[in-house]
Amino acid sequence: MTGDEILKLASELFASKGAKSEALCRAIIGRCYYAAYHLSLALFAEMGLPRSSDHKIPSRWLIESGEPNAKSAGRFMEDLYSARRRADYELEHPVAIRESRDLQFVKSQIELATDIKRLLAVCALEPARSQVQAGIQAFRQRTESPRRG
């Protein structure tokens, strides 16, 4: 199971015929974020970086790497996380209701996740890859406490 498959599911749900309920649209927005989240974790795993269950970490690492494609992906991911959290938790929130009844908005979140996927694919290749790895490594050294042995 990959982030790509989750993004494909979100796109298929959006493209499916028939009326799209608010609940379905909220689910699509959520899937878009988790697709991006898992795609970023896959990139980190491939780079030998540790996995974190803290959702702040992947986007922060991408941003702090300083590599332009990674930085863009991280910023988009933070915004997508915000839309996902609203969709998942704010059932009575007027803006959340409006968003999840607005097909143009839902489509834009799929496009955002697709853009993140494209940017992460660039980060997986040289020369970006080495810059992302080095940038994240430097950030971790600055911010993470040394392990006690």
């Binding site: 803290d54 986007s59 933070e78 834009s108």
Partner: protein, 111 residues
């Protein structure tokens, strides 16, 4: 939630810079939050003419992941405003160099 609405896209009316905050902002912004918010509202309206609103989003999962969301309107498709999202983040980073992640953008596209 706070709002700041110009009379029309790109056409500012007198007093349109005023904004209202209802609710709270993150603890990390205490003391200088209104100045920062006002600057980010201005950036938001410059890049995304139209209504700008913002709200504090506390972490519903009990953690420390809270931030302020700015909701803006963009005319056109994602490809038309995609680069402006990144510009917004660049401008916010200039205003808040060490804590830009505390501010998020959600764009509402209109065709």
């Amino acid at each position: 939630m706070g709002t700041s609405s110009p009379s029309a896209a790109g056409a500012e009316s007198p007093g349109a810079e005023q904004s209202i905050v209802v609710g709270s902002v993150p603890q990390m912004l205490a003391g200088h939050s209104m100045d920062l918010i006002a600057q980010i509202v201005a950036v938001s309206r410059q890049l995304f003419p139209g209504e700008v609103s913002y709200e504090h989003s506390p972490d519903p999962e009990g953690g420390t992941h809270d931030y302020v969301i700015f909701d803006v309107i963009a005319w056109g498709e994602y490809a038309d405003y995609r680069d402006r999202i990144l510009q917004w983040h660049d401008e916010v980073e200039k205003i808040v160099p060490n804590n830009a992640g505390a501010f998020r953008l959600i764009v509402h596209p209109h065709l």
